[in-house]
């Protein structure tokens, strides 16, 4: 339970209630609009292979990266037709979860 000296408030249906926050509320994840042009790692792992070059145009579901995680090779694919704008990884690199591996932009 949070320090009761510090006044904290929760707003429900326009009414502001004085209360205290708990740890989970304080640590809750603030939502961000997802940016589909950033290909992020969904799990920590090692980059086995990079199959694309900057400037290359690919179709949706084309393979771009092979990521090893949990003793498995995972095929990372283009989410839609697009161009490779930037590559932020190297072969053999260990990356954490949520790392921006490749940046793309949609191509009509």
């Amino acid at each position: 339970m949070a320090d009761q000296e510090n006044k904290q408030y929760i707003i429900v249906h326009s009414a502001k209630y004085e209360t205290t926050y708990n740890k989970k509320y304080l640590n809750r994840k603030v939502w961000e609009e997802p940016n589909f042009n950033l290909i992020k790692s969904f799990i920590p792992g090692t980059i086995i292979d990079i199959l694309v070059k900057v400037g290359q145009v690919l179709n949706g579901r084309d393979s771009i990266v092979v990521l090893e995680a949990m003793k498995m090779y995972t095929d990372v694919q283009m989410p839609f037709k697009g161009k490779i704008v930037k590559i932020n990884i190297e072969k053999g690199q260990k990356i954490p979860k949520g790392f921006i591996m490749i940046e793309i932009e949609p191509v009509a």
Binding site: Y17, E18, T19, K24, A69, P96
Partner: protein, 514 residues
Amino acid sequence: MSLKRSILDLRKRKDEVRLGGGDKAIEKQVAQGKLTARQRILAIVDEGSFHEYDMFVEHVGTDFNMGNKVLAGDGVVIGTGTIYGSPICIYAQDFTVEGGSLGLMHARKITKIMDHALKMRVPLIGINDSGGARIQEGVNSLAGYGEIFFRNTLSSGVIPQISVILGPCAGGAVYSPALTDFVFVVENISKMFITGPAVIKSVLGEDISMEALGGARVHAEITGNAHFFALSEKECFEQIKTLITYIPWNNTVRAKAFPPQEPKTKLKIENIVPADVRMPYDIRDIIKSITDASEFFEIMELFAANIVIGFGRMNGETVGFVANQPLVLAGVLDCDSSDKAARFIRYCNAFNIPIITLEDMPGYLPGVDQEHAGVIRHGAKILYSYSEATVPKITVIIRKAYGGGYIAMNSRHLRADFVFAWPTAEIAVMGPEGAANIVFRKEIAEAADPEAMRQQKIQEYKDKFANPYVAASKGYIDEVIEPQETRKILLHALQISMHKDIQSPSKKHGLPPF
């Protein structure tokens, strides 16, 4: 062998088993602030009441040179005893013997005492302190776990099942506690996780200590896997003994009644509950001013503290309390508090414990994280649990009862037996601020001074709807009561409900939204 010699031989054999893993292993156990398996059992049960069985059971492992090894009692102690005179079955894994690892015979001892508990319809207490599956016994130890989980499920809702985590409890082993009714943990001693820090580090690169990953505090505060948190084993054993006094032996009887006592704290509403519904107070002060001797045995105190659950006694009989807590997160309902309350309501229903609901909540917690975490299906659990419960169900609305939360908190519409409201109660579709903004949107927008108009409309709505009388006029609440009458009226309602008997449609089982 003469009789005397054979008796001496028996004693020697038993003494050898009681030594567990030997002096060195015991020393190590003690150095960690831990008691041994037998000491723990003796600390929980009434003096002189414990009887141990299967002392001479031997393990059956033969691979990896296990054939030559002697494991005292195969690393687990099972037996029966009493707590304040109530019979219980109990087992305790002995970490000093091969790390308390679970092999076939170890599991068979546990399932034997589990079968016994179910057959005799008495509570089962399991003390977990084990490194996990005995790898050398391979698939046999997996079979052992499966047999335990199956029995946990079979016994669920028939006999109380209590798990005490006094050491590591990792991998598949965690699922036995997870299937039981109450889990007890002790700071710095309990460790529960599916995948340990070493594997997490090697696979994911995340560096975390055992304590931070699955220590007692984590499970009591963050995951909700534990129901009771203690700073020492001694405190933990006291909690277990207290719990046993509040719950029945099985689902066909009531909890033991105690001599009735008046509350020690006299209810002074003007001192506890602020008139302004936006100001907080501790709902537990209200509970303690209602219960016998002002005693309240809180469950899951640290987890989802925006709802309070626990046992108290009314006129000597156990009652389960579910109460919104304005002190934390304004007492809102959210994913965690819904889970917490719903499970407790189902516990009370399974074990014939009447439920008193104290209501003061502004609604559901707004937020993307809540919506994406599934507050719809989690919130539905409260509706489900109250609706299916057939034990006496009594609600007291203290202040705010708004919107979906009003329905969920054991409203008349979910088959509450009695719904009382204090004159401070506000039963409405939402709070005056929100309602005025919607109902009078046009008037407010078009006014010369929108803010003044907003305040005026909020006041209008408040005067008209922020009270218990609209709901009372429809019969949704049975009586508007004076706060100081609360205990008296609850005692009466409980007395009237004593032999409540209603039937729900027959079914195999429902499909609660979990």
